[in-house]
């Protein structure tokens, strides 16, 4: 009951935050010089002033800022994210199309990074200064320092051009007409390189953090106490140290989970992955207001939800925490 009330309270207090974000986003985006009509006309090479006026009228850019804001808010209140005139498509359908590939890539990369990172950190910490600690530390240092786009391109050179094992880019083989498991296999093959190049950075981060965190916890008094009670080292590690050591990792993962919806522009660009990152980037470049505002809005909501989830996970890991 107390738990449900807490979640309800948190969601309620998130409302003003989201409203603030809506207003701020709207104002910020209008501060940027240039508009969608001039970008569209610019790409066309030439256009008459009448044509551009008609475009602006169609886009609703000829209305006052206040009027545009009211339209936007009333649309949002009706769960309508608006229409992208530049793309001649509904914003919600544009985002939905990308949501699947984005979450597939991000969840795969993030999940792998988190799971492997924690395990590697544990392995390294339990054998401190042994060869496996040194190997893991070295690998994570290299992975942490390597730029994702370079890693991606090198993988393409090796695995696509050199060995011919994996496709260079895209989400699936277009026009191949795969179905069932063949399709899963096909998408999986396309997923490997983008997921790895994205995951390696996070993996290094979590492994290093996990290692440091475990080493810090093993010096604590409660570990000495447990040892004095006669508990086995294994039991001390799994029952006491691990839970405490996970807290900083969960905190960091929570902050970074906000990127899940945003996608990764760099990796999406290198591998031609149809993600939300490039969609947002192009929308910003072309001043596609409805689209960019919708992506901002959804990201903001997601961050609020994830923050709440992280707090709940804290509570589960460490019952001493107040909620």
């Amino acid at each position: 009951m107390r738990f449900a009330r807490y979640v309800g309270y948190r969601l309620l207090t998130a409302l003003p935050v989201i409203c603030g974000i809506i207003v701020l986003n709207f104002l910020l985006i209008h501060l940027a010089p240039g508009d969608a009509a001039s970008v569209l006309a610019g790409e066309s090479g030439a256009a008459t002033p009448e044509y551009m006026d008609e475009l602006r009228h169609k886009f609703g850019l000829d209305q006052s800022l206040g009027m545009q804001f009211l339209t936007y808010v009333s649309n949002l209140a009706h769960f309508n994210l608006g229409y992208s005139y530049r793309n001649d498509a509904d914003v919600s359908s544009l985002i939905l199309e990308r949501l699947g590939p984005t979450s597939l890539l991000m969840l795969t990369a993030f999940g792998t990074a988190l799971a492997l990172g924690i395990i590697l950190g544990l392995v390294a910490a339990t054998g401190r200064n042994s060869w496996r600690d040194n190997v893991i530390s070295l690998i994570s240092l290299v992975a942490y320092a390597t730029p994702g786009f370079w890693l991606g391109l090198m993988m393409i050179v090796i695995f696509s051009i050199g060995l011919g094992w994996l496709p260079t880019s895209g989400f699936d083989t277009v026009g191949a007409g795969h179905e069932g498991w063949a399709e899963v296999w096909d998408i999986g093959r396309h997923l490997v390189m983008p997921a790895v190049s994205l995951a390696l950075f996070y993996l290094a981060l979590y492994a290093r953090l996990m290692r440091a965190s475990i080493l810090e916890q093993t010096g604590m008094d409660y570990v000495t106490t447990a040892r004095a009670k006669g508990q086995t080292e294994r039991r001390i590690m799994t029952g006491h140290v691990l839970r405490n050591a996970l807290l900083p990792v969960v905190t960091l993962a929570g902050v970074q989970a906000g990127n899940l919806i945003g996608g990764s522009i760099v990796v999406e660009t290198v591998f031609g992955w149809p993600g939300i990152g490039t969609l947002a980037f192009n929308a910003l470049q072309s001043r596609d207001l409805n689209l960019i505002l919708a992506i901002f809005f959804i990201s903001a909501c997601l961050v609020v939800v994830i923050n709440l989830a992280v707090d709940v996970i804290y509570f589960m890991l460490d019952p001493r925490m107040e909620i």
Partner: protein, 545 residues
């Protein structure tokens, strides 16, 4: 009909001469053995790279260069062009221009059907020209300015009525420039909101299939195409890969068969050429002239002085830009028109020559004469250059320009902004000194010259028109006369004079006559069958099995 380009024939021979070891090492490409390369084969899916992904396929209202490679597979024009740029029958079977030049009568092809099953008639021509193109096509104010109406005496005859002769119009009737749409699809709906904007319906060899945004557009064979037996391909996939290195890799692995319009970085071309499964061609861009230029804002002193503008033109070594920025693709520009207009007799290099051995002395002398002595730091004056936001090469060009102009004492400050901000600054606020755009010159001098240099084209808020405030009544008269002159010889003489005046007044500095390059897989044949290249249908393209 026009046949394959010579370069393709050579490439086939080289492909056949490949050592077997090489062929085997390039994976599955040759695994089915060599098909007989001269006999077209039905079937197959061609993958082409289009860069960047178009925002819309509303080809009739947006003329961005990444739309035609897809849209011209679907929409056709009244005519098409042979290698000499003469009109050839397409949706029109014959045409005749009236002796006074004020009307053109088109006989239309019978038994042509749109992809929705509707028959093609003169009503579609009339509606396309008067209700769609004349009203919404960005080039209509130039190309269709004289068009007053389209008469349809019968279902298979369309007469374009003109207020004055428009000799350039016969050059702009291909599907790339003035496409024909289906009347019943558009009638009674707002044109700009038409649902077929992104699901186009035309008469072309390929039908629209599917668009997965961020990934690809799929086009399917039009089984009822009016040219019997064509097209050869079952599908065309236009893939969008944002990263240049990955685009090259997709060609190298054979995942993609074709990349036109320099979708492959110039820097990668040498590697592409050495790849046994790939080849390149510079053909297919004969009707796509373009110049890279410097626009100078004559409202910002000292750029109002002709001598200063000429000095800038003298100070730049175009050969360095060609070598270091364009990787040798293209030629130094000699004046305001691309060399590609030589084919139709409009280009002249009999103009003031800025590429002379003593160009630096001349530049310094001109600047001294303009009352701009060097200061204590060696600089005469400082101006800003707006860096073109459409790609990395423009930043490299800007870096060279800064060095080149410093030699004659002009201190250049580079300013990089995103596209929307850049367009607003340069074409609406006019808050710039020097700008380095890339100007498409269209199919006739009327396009490239009129919009860039006529006094009437100083139009605040309109992109890529006269923003250098060049205003010369004598020049305006020549251009307006040339626009309506039906006699080709007289027109050519007028344009020669116009080019000489421009080169002397130097409102812009012309840098490079751009050369695009296509990269293709050697299994793909007959992809470049005319001067419009990628911007015409791949109806005759075929893939070796």
């Amino acid at each position: 009909m026009v046949d394959d380009s010579p370069s393709n024939k050579i490439s086939r021979r080289t492909a056949l001469a490949l050592p077997l070891g090489l062929a085997a090492s390039s994976g599955t490409i040759f695994s089915n053995g060599f098909a007989k390369a001269d006999e077209p084969v039905r079937g197959g899916t061609m993958v082409m790279i289009v860069q960047p992904e178009p925002s819309t396929l509303a080809h009739y209202a947006v003329t961005a260069g990444n739309i035609p490679p897809i849209a011209t597979q679907i929409y056709e024009g009244l005519v098409t062009y042979d290698w000499d740029q003469n009109p050839q029958p397409s949706l029109a079977t014959s045409w005749e221009t009236a002796p006074d030049g004020k009307s053109i009568t088109f006989k239309l092809r019978e038994r042509v059907f749109f992809h929705n099953g509707n028959p093609f008639t003169s009503a579609d021509v009339q509606f396309s020209f008067m209700e769609i193109l004349k009203k919404y096509h960005p080039f209509a104010p130039l190309l269709l300015a004289e068009l007053t109406g389209v008469d349809t005496p019968d279902a298979m005859t369309a007469i374009l009525r003109l207020a004055n002769p428009a000799p350039y119009l016969m050059k702009a009737l291909a599907g790339r420039d003035l496409p024909i749409m289906c009347k019943s699809v558009f009638e009674g709906t707002p044109v700009l909101q038409n649902p077929t904007a992104n699901k186009p319906i035309g008469t072309g060899p390929f039908k629209f299939g599917q668009w997965d945004r961020g990934q690809f557009v799929r086009l399917d064979r039009n089984d009822k195409y009016w040219k019997p037996g064509l097209p050869y391909l079952d599908h065309i996939i236009a893939r969008f890969i944002p990263d240049a290195a990955t685009r090259s890799a997709a060609l190298e692995t054979g995942e993609a068969h074709f990349a036109g319009y320099s979708a492959v970085n110039y820097a990668d071309l040498a590697r592409m050429k050495s790849n046994p499964i790939l080849d390149t061609t510079m053909k297919g861009y004969e009707m796509t002239p373009a110049l890279s230029v410097l626009e100078l804002n004559a409202n910002h002193p000292p750029l109002d002085k002709k001598e200063v503008r000429q000095a800038i033109a003298y100070a730049i070594d175009r050969k360095v830009i060609l070598r270091d920025v364009m990787y040798g693709y293209g030629q130094p520009a000699t004046g305001p028109l691309s060399r590609l207009f030589k084919t139709v007799g409009f280009y002249t290099d009999d103009v003031r020559n800025y590429d002379v051995p003593d160009r630096l002395e001349i530049a310094n002398k001109l600047l001294d004469g303009a009352g701009l002595p060097r200061g204590s730091n060696g600089m005469r004056f400082g101006i800003h250059l707006e860096v073109n936001s459409f790609g990395e090469q423009w930043l490299r060009q800007a870096e060279y320009l800064k060095q080149a102009l410093a030699i004659v004492g002009i201190d250049l400050t580079l300013r990089s902004e995103d596209t929307a901000t850049w367009l607003r600054r340069v074409y609406t606020n006019y808050d710039y000194d020097m700008n380095e755009p890339f100007l498409s010159q269209g199919v006739d001098p009327v396009y490239g010259l009129n919009k860039q240099y006529l006094t009437s084209q100083i139009r605040k808020g309109v992109t890529f028109v006269n923003n250098s405030f060049y205003a010369n009544p004598e020049f305006d008269d020549i251009l307006n006369e040339a626009m309506r002159e039906p006699d080709h010889g007289k027109r050519a003489a007028l344009y020669k004079k116009a080019q000489q005046i421009l080169a002397e007044d130097c409102p812009l500095v012309w840098l490079i006559d751009v050369q695009y390059v296509s990269v293709f897989n050697r299994k793909l044949h007959d992809h470049t069958t005319g001067p419009l290249g990628t911007q015409q249908a791949f109806e005759r393209a075929w893939l070796e099995k």
